[in-house]
């Protein structure tokens, strides 16, 4: 029954026009970034490297597909949560708003299976969005700009990664980025179980992300104790794969925090949905 309903959920996601909004928005944004970098990329990069030019000399093509892919990831990972929440925040509350939750809950499928099938379908959608992001940022950027070494500016300084040493970092980086987005998806599904319309969970998800991001960026001692436990603190950990050496301990810690968030949020959703009186 779980698999059958997961298939049902996926059919619903595929049939909803809003599901394509994310893919369309990503395509448009990446096209704009690529166009901008093609037009003025050299100036932007030279502005960044200018402070190092007294001690270093740069040879070769700095504005290449790898750098563009990295910039795209950097810029969009902040905004993609909205595109994910747009679909996943509607998964339970949308059924309540339409009244179909009544029809679902009178079928011989348990409420736990209903929630889990929605979570699996939401995870597949998030994965597809991440894969689409990866395809556009890597494949198209390489087509337009070609390959080359990657220069990454970190808080510690400049990291130069050889062309042959980059692809696996993107691969693992996308995996962690997916886990971050999956946490956002789970949060919006959880909020969706408390609401009767889809606007509330989508807005609430974004509000929580913004609030946690602000708390994470404030240099206030009071917040230092909670910062490591906020999922937003770990959403940018995909970037750690572009450090040399790669700080695996910190990445694993981030993965654990994100996974704990996912498990706890699914638990809350299951508890709420199983206890809920369906009166809509």
């Amino acid at each position: 029954m779980l698999l059958k309903n997961t298939y049902n959920e996926f059919i619903k996601i595929v049939a909803k026009p809003r599901s394509y909004l994310g893919f369309g928005a990503l395509t448009l944004l990446i096209a704009i970034i690529i166009f901008a970098m093609k037009a003025d990329g050299e100036t932007i990069v030279s502005f960044i490297t200018a402070s190092f030019e007294q001690t270093l000399s740069f040879n070769g093509k700095l504005v290449n597909g790898n750098l563009i892919a990295f910039i795209i990831l950097q810029m969009l990972v902040v905004h993609i949560p909205l595109l994910v929440a747009l679909v996943t925040g509607d998964l339970i509350s949308g059924e309540a708003a339409m009244g179909t939750v009544r029809m679902l809950a009178t079928k011989p499928i348990s409420r736990t299976q209903i929630v889990l099938s929605k979570f699996i379908a939401g995870a597949i959608y998030t994965l597809l969005l991440t894969v689409w992001l990866g395809f556009l940022s890597l494949f198209v950027s390489h087509l337009v700009f070609g390959a080359g070494d990657l220069i990454v500016l970190n808080s510690d300084g400049l990291v130069i990664l050889q062309e042959a040493d980059i692809l696996w970092r993107f691969g693992l980086g996308f995996c962690v980025a997916f886990l971050s987005l999956l946490t956002v998806a789970t949060l919006s599904i959880c909020l969706s179980a408390f609401a009767e319309n889809s606007v509330g969970p989508i807005v609430s998800t974004m509000a929580i992300i913004i609030l946690f991001t602000i708390i994470g960026s404030l240099d206030v001692t009071v917040f230092d104790t909670i910062k490591p436990y906020l999922f937003t603190t770990h959403m940018a950990s995909w970037r750690s794969f572009f450090e040399d050496p790669v700080p695996y301990d910190s990445i694993i810690q981030s993965i654990v925090v994100l996974l704990v968030h996912i498990v706890v949020l699914i638990g809350i959703t299951l508890y709420k949905f199983n206890k809920k009186d369906i009166t809509s």
């Binding site: 059958k4 309903n5 909803k16 029809m103 009178t106 348990s110 369906i278």
Partner: protein
Amino acid sequence: MFVNIYVNHPFGTIHVLICLIIMEKQAIIKIEHLAKKFGSFEAVKDVSFTVNKGDVFGFLGPNGAGKSTTIRCLLSLISPDKGTVELFGQSLAKNRADILKNIGSIIEKPDFYKYLSAQKNLEIFARISGANVSAKDIAEMLDFVGLGNRAKHKVKGFSHGMKQRLGIAQTLLHKPELIILDEPTTGLDPQGIVEIRNLILRLKNEQNKTILLSSHQLSEIELIANRMVIINQGKSVVEGDVSSLLNSEETLVRIELNDVEKGKSVIREKLNVSTITQISGNELEVNISKKRVPELCKALIDADLAIHAIEPKRKLEDYFMKIIQA
């Protein structure tokens, strides 16, 4: 059922074992002392009733009486605070999935995924119905409810009546034993109401389905239900056979005629009927045995009275009002 009888005989006691076949009615729904609160509001206080196999069971009550809450408890949409719900002899709390496999329902109004076609909607619900429903079954069911030519059309373009018919298709798709219909004729035009009524009668007569029908259309209930319960202010007030409760031997007849006073005296004298009510300047209501209605007509015609209309007035409406007001 076996009965042991011991008969004293001069040669000793004879033991006679008699096998009796007793046709007991099987209870499909058994609700006992159901109660449900929402905060401080008691939506259902004490509702009990039994629906037997093959019944078309009318579930009546004014707005806010607790009908929908009771039906939602029956379908596990709402957890009751008190009381027991048994379906097919099993506890709903313990055997939810097994029980729901045998139930088809429409609650208030059928809601569908508007962005999907009628066929896709049925496919979605069939997949989780617990039964093997083929594409052919879906096509046949859409034909059965008169939506065969709209199978590929998105539900967002459907009228209320079409959605209601699609709801019926969804209800019957997995061939359930029990059908629960909560206000199935709400918002339908007269033709739609007749269609639903005929469909319910076909389900009862041709497929021997058990049907729980909640409706404000008392005339519908009177026409198709064999048993009923009336609930008021969260409590079940009366339950039984429709014909016994309404005393089907007598009927209320409305007569429209040219001379009401003369009509009254003719009915009193010739038929010896005393319960005559004048309801307007040219209308009378007479409580009379069904068998005597032709005699009533003849007496009025013989007295040269012009009868503009004569019709049996539905009694359930009066009975319902009497119970509710009491």
